[in-house]
Symmetry: D2
């Protein structure tokens, strides 16, 4: 059984394990105050071209989101997000558990628009309603789409005009920035948003997300919030060592580019088979629509999500590739798929 379920099925890229082995017996300070965390932060600052950005390392994405959002907001302030947002759908009410309402805007492609943001502002006008204050976007989104530069510029503009905090969930930022269609760079993102995180867990690390706080007034006392929410890792160096390795050179982007290439191979095959797609995805998650009988055959050898029933005889499935997906495994899948199509009346 081979898994296309997610991009965190395997451990870590070998270089990361090597780094952990190499540094294992060093004695360092705890809680992210060690030389590896400092060095990893400096490397990331260099990549984003902002030496004064604050970098904090977390173990996972939900923890990063809930800590940052609750640290940035006062109690009456709310988050604007797409209805597909991870914080809305897949974090068990973690944001609400810190006291904040999420204001949803329905989205077909997983992206939020300036018009959505303006509408949320217009709808909330007095103290009987929560006050919109932070805009949450994901790049790539939960359904594989990515933000283009012009889109992010417009969102950033509407946020700044309205004193909204713009926060980007970058659990799959590597895949977004390494996409063939992408026209954004890390420094541009750091310029346009107020805070974002660079996901490691889904791109080659054992675990780890690097939160980047760009805006000065969001920086104060941030480590208190990490500790209070349970996110300050005792052996913080584990995160520093991994991000050192990912950003020492371009490893982070190379791993993501590989994942995207593997998704593209799969994508091309589905297009060849004349499959439709639930959504256009130029990143490492794809959502082809297949006949249910073919899905059943695939399920004998592969794990993946049945995402959505699209009609009586078809469903969209989700296939996710990663730094660890091997080309030969993709080709075996493609061969099988083609065989099933040949032997089936679709």
């Amino acid at each position: 059984m081979y898994s296309f379920l997610c991009d965190y099925s395997e451990g870590a890229h070998p270089r990361i394990l090597e780094a952990l082995n190499r540094t294992n017996l060093e004695q360092t300070d705890g809680y992210g105050m060690d030389s590896h965390c400092l060095s990893a932060a400096a490397l990331i600052q260099k990549h984003i071209k902002r030496e004064n950005a604050d970098i904090h390392f977390f173990v996972g994405g939900t923890q990063t989101n809930l800590t940052a959002i609750s640290a940035f907001l006062r109690p009456h302030q709310a988050v604007i997000s797409a209805s597909t947002a991870h914080i809305q759908v897949h974090e068990t009410g973690a944001i609400e558990a810190t006291g904040h309402k999420i204001l949803l805007k329905s989205s077909a492609d997983g992206k939020l628009t300036p018009a959505d943001i303006q509408a949320a502002l217009d709808e909330h006008e007095d103290e009987h309603m929560a006050k919109p204050k932070l805009v949450y976007i994901s790049n790539s989104t939960e359904i594989g789409s990515i933000y283009f530069k012009a889109e992010l510029e417009q969102i950033s503009a509407v946020c700044r005009e309205n004193s909204l905090i713009l926060y980007m969930d970058g659990a799959r930022l590597g895949s977004a920035l390494s996409s063939k269609e992408n026209d954004l760079t890390l420094p541009e993102i750091a310029e346009l948003v107020d805070a974002f995180y660079i996901g490691g867990t889904k791109n080659g690390a054992l675990m780890g997300e690097a939160l980047v706080i760009c805006r000065d007034d969001l920086k104060e006392d941030f480590r208190y919030h990490i500790k209070q929410r349970g996110g300050l890792l005792a052996k913080g160096r584990l995160l520093g060592i991994q991000f050192e390795e990912l950003f020492r050179d371009n490893l982070y982007f190379e791993l993501a580019a590989h994942a995207n290439r593997m998704a593209e191979l799969l994508n091309n095959c589905f297009m060849e088979m004349k499959c439709g797609f639930l959504t256009h995805s130029p990143s490492n998650q794809i959502f082809p629509i297949l006949p249910n009988n073919i899905i059943e055959k695939l399920e004998k050898d592969y794990s993946f999500y049945r995402w959505k029933k699209t009609d009586e005889t078809h469903s969209a499935i989700r296939l996710v590739t990663s730094w660890a997906t091997e080309e030969r495994d993709v080709y075996v899948f493609i061969e099988r798929l083609k065989k099933y199509y040949r032997s089936t009346d679709c």
Copy 2:
């Protein structure tokens, strides 16, 4: 500079790194639903002799404490703890951030007594006061002391008589159970408390704490709480693999016993030098009281905490040993200490 600051200065025991390397390319399910987590849970159940205990793995202690306590309590219910408790002193208000009050009982030796618990119950009698519901104890405590069997039995009895939940923070449970003075076993603890955790971070793991829920009515929906608080690790297997290694045989206890032996060597030396101690500690943290001029000399080559000024010319320091402390480094320290004493008027 050699560090006796804490027991999480180094990475992981070599067997743990080997296991991570060995399993790195396995594809597993995420979020702790993989075979390694299941196997680690089974090993722990066997060690504690309770097959129906629920085992959940966390990355760190504060996260374990805040998730368990907030899951177990209703909003108006409060925690009883010693004034020295980690949740009171060193978690940045994490428990209060989930909405719960901590009711403090002053403690000289870090331990809570049945009388403390009874007093807290007596003082809180109506709806104008928070309602005591959970008793938090640490073993070993934050200042190195350990609970004896008779003590734990009495605490357990007063809790059960009063329908209080008894929770043990086991960040350093290995050290407590491996102490020469200890008369408790893991199965006895599992019998006497309602939930406890077995600390890995401070005993040889890269990171990881195994929460054990013994009481049935505390088990329901627990994974929701882990996720909501940001503690559900995507590559949950990392925790499973480490606890598999620690509990496959007696590695967990051997590492702790080593740490205790190293602390004992230091302890014996301080006793030989006629030092006093802040508190009696039979575990891997010791708190000798030294002349300030000797402390200053030691600080040139060693990191450790100055814990408390005890008079104008003396202070208690904290020295912590671990699985990674090497005997030769302890002997070098002892030699230096003796030399400083010989050359000083104390």
Copy 3:
């Protein structure tokens, strides 16, 4: 300027003021433990025909909702409600501020259906999502509609099959139960829901809502929650005295019936004028759709909400009547409206 803005524009019904004056110098216990609160609770128990229901008095609706919902739920549990729900739209995120997510179901008429509830259950199936546990409905709803007996029975059935708590916001329960179209009784409601409140503020009291908890397992320690959320009124008797007066006889229902009659007079006039309505409302809030130029004329002498633009030249307005609305004021309004229509090309 005459106001149809809301049903809390005036003070209290004269009988209530008289009762407050009459009892003013009595010395009573505080916090709702006095004889008036006990007597009011007994009167309500009699009206709902459940002597073992627990009755708690609150000053206002938002406080009642947030206290009850946060007392009933564990942290990971969520509320299912219509998108028009007061807790969703007009409580400034009060429910989320206690840590709970609200799962919205879009509703045209302000009512929730069994299918909505089932859909919410189906969509939330594992620990990565909040767990639906409480169903919130309002009767009458925020847009004037009311629940019929068959509807409430079906909702109650789906809740009980799925171990969901059914909670009814009765801020305007008097108006709902006194509606000409109503086929529900107080005892039936108490049978079908698990908790509900009987609104006084909008039906003749200075302030006050009576929360009725029908289900035994929701009753425990409830006064702690009221106190913790700041809702335990020192001179609790003020609430008891008012509800004594409202439920000593049928005053509560008579006041609501009067409000409904006044709304019906207005309603009939709008129908005569061939106005459309935003929604069908048989209670004390009506939402006629008027030409904007007529609205502007009315606004010179009357306050009311412009609720929603319905096309380029028309808007729905909200008119609310109450126990204090005098018939002669309604007739003056009607006269004016008719005059404006006669003199206008609509």
Copy 4:
């Protein structure tokens, strides 16, 4: 049975009831936006000599405290208070329920000192501990003592040097300011603290506390917080009308002065009987220490709290007087007390 249990045993001063009766049929805006609230706020601003202070009306003290404190603080920030503080002892964990830790300083007389504040600051120095940010004091305190001008100036100075918010709970501010020993004025308090509230419930109102926010940066969006915590009263005018009456002239201070005089009469009698006192109280709560057999006799005709056992045969009791305490009832009490003393071997 006559009650000295508390200062909220009766309803309201007749002038307040008259005002409520007089204004009953006025139509006003809801939620504190009416002319009575505006006028009451203006009267209070004049009394405190700060026209730019923000005034918000609440129904009760716990609600005022929890709303203000949670609005003023970020999640990691904590409150410093005396161990006797109402928020610590008698609000069921209301502050913690909004997420904030209370750091206690033991106090014999109910007052906090600059040294206590400095100690709390010194003890909390890094992100592993909650960060002290707000100082909570009560005047008069929970045990009847009052702050003198020099004390408040010193506390204010240490707060401003350390960027701490100084908040005064004025549930019994009237009694404090009307005490014979008092040397503080309302304008001085408004100058020295950042926010405080003027208690109405315990000084002649049916209910009501007026929160005064002096510091500009604490004012923003405050009404959102009131609404979110359930404290925005629909018929807000009820609070405005009462404070109009209390501050239209000096009624507020006259009522408090009466209460203090009644307490003084009692006090003098206890001194004459050579009773000791638990604490020195120049306000409307006194804590004489009596032989238990005399207490038992008094309990036949009077309600009051047994506050604390002081030795095997004596206890301190609490007697509270109010605007409604009549002189003749005090004299009857005194006569009885003297009689019991005469007939007893104490």
